[in-house]
Symmetry: C2
Subunit: 335 residues, 2 copies
Amino acid sequence: MATIRDVAKLADVSVSTVSLALSNPARVSQKTLEKIRHAVAAVGFVADPLAQSLARGRSRMVGFVVGNVGNPFFGDIRRELENYALDHGHFVLVTDSSGKTEREKAMVEHLIGLKMAGLALAPSGHDQDYVDFIGGLNIPIVCFDQKVAGIERDFVGSDNHLAGAMLTEHLLQLGHRRIAFIAGPSHMHTATERYRGFMDTMANAGIEVNPNFVVDGQFTRTAGYEAAMRLLIQPERPTAILGANNAVALSALQAMQELGFRCPEDISLAMIDNVQWSSVITPRITMVVQDTLALGGIIARRLMHRITNPQGAVEPPQDFVLTPKFVPGNSCRRI
Amino acid sequence: MATIRDVAKLADVSVSTVSLALSNPARVSQKTLEKIRHAVAAVGFVADPLAQSLARGRSRMVGFVVGNVGNPFFGDIRRELENYALDHGHFVLVTDSSGKTEREKAMVEHLIGLKMAGLALAPSGHDQDYVDFIGGLNIPIVCFDQKVAGIERDFVGSDNHLAGAMLTEHLLQLGHRRIAFIAGPSHMHTATERYRGFMDTMANAGIEVNPNFVVDGQFTRTAGYEAAMRLLIQPERPTAILGANNAVALSALQAMQELGFRCPEDISLAMIDNVQWSSVITPRITMVVQDTLALGGIIARRLMHRITNPQGAVEPPQDFVLTPKFVPGNSCRRI
DNA sequence: TGATTAAATCGAACCGGTTCGATAGAGCTC
DNA sequence: GAGCTCTATCGAACCGGTTCGATTTAATCA
């Protein structure tokens, strides 16, 4: 590998002049610039990013930290960020914490050790320790998906209260009254908001929610399945189930199928967030989806803005909340 | 941030002794080791990974390069690799080329610039240029998924010929003769092998394959949909469709649903590779799946072996080919 | 006790860049 | 031609570690 000193020797100038010419060509005379360019081409010089990062104190990379890269929601956002960052000369490094807060912390620390220019982070934690940890990081960060109370950072997400309310209202319009809700973890902002959207809408309609109709699905497949089963074995069954996310809703569909209930004839089903092959799932689930492309675009622009604009780093944090979209399916019937 | 010089000053030893103590405690006297340990704790010293990588010439990170991290197949493998690598003190950095060979090359070069200890790579290219590129890299690499002719590296994958043959045989056993095949890109090893598995099995059964029954689905959703439509509008329709991967098969299912064909009553369907929510797709597709956990485990162990064992680097490349598994569904009927 | 060897520690060079103050020379003014 | 400003270039220090040959110290042996 050719080093900058090889270039300097060949071009017969000092190392510092080469470095200057490469980072700020305007400050070098035309003649020496030519010489240096030739030398660079001749020896095939490419600057070592590691050495650059060490000397500069920061790299031209941004980190993308989520709990599950396999989730298409995060996948879309990643793609948007990547395209935008690449256009602005930055590489995206992806890390997956598998939802484990401790692992996420370690990964974030590692990325910061790598002198990342910035981080796009879907927070996995929520306690004070975690908030302090994120707050103490001295690096541009854009948080997304989960809004964590206490974290003073840019945030990009969807209106989850509205998402819950939209589907609830839809079910009410279809005549449903016995609506069950499979909730997510209570420490997650998206989960509580969706739950509130459901409860508020029911309350506004003057309908009391049967406490047995609210079960905890933890946003996961296994817990969602269990929660759905608990709903379905009750003597007084709900006429509709609202899943707070895709995993719990589809687990409910599976449970229904296994017990011999037909959807939507016996029980209607609606969910928040899409999955990859929803178009071939029968019935097509009525859902509310987030605008992942828009979210990804905002995250990307905001982060790169903070990174590239000198004064961008000190701008006060801002929240960007997008409106989700209703996507009708045929999993909800009128009763 | 505390540096190694702060530690040396506090412990009243030289910088080199601190470095030595940290990397090879046995070669330092018990007394100084204690002093150094105390000093490290006192100033909160953590070695800068960047500086270490620069000085050592390599980092303690491995790169994971695929065309689509969102694909659960790659997701499972990533998880296995990550767990194993973490246990051996290495971080995994994920990059997604979106299937673009040029982007993949740039990413691989960037990772090598980062002095990665090794790479787990699902090759996206196939031409001589690409083979030369991969061959020219002086770093432990384990390739997986696609076997590329000419690349002399460890390879971990499944027996794709067998995968195609298994499903074909299954359909033959059920009495099908007019079996259609939605193929993948001809430059991909997995695609050609699966195709050969289909053709060989048909030939062995003495059945001539109608050329109109072999269509190109490019392993993608859109091309798969188009290919399936071409199959379904023929006057002489197939009684069964075999999709060379999950995307083309599920696109075919969608096309069938849209045209009003019932599966399996009108047309049977089988596919290679699972998808995330296959259990709630109706009908449950009969398929052959790869053992992703086993694949991931082998990739992880092989890569870490090459990285950590001094002589591991020079061992000749080896192929690991696993047997896929038949998973019956109810998308194929006897005729 | 002096010579020999092994163990512990150190100093300096190095990895490959960046940055900043110093210096030399060119161009301009009076 | 002295004085001044700008521009182009350079040298040296630095980022924060590692490594290796040299040196000091301690232990072993004749």
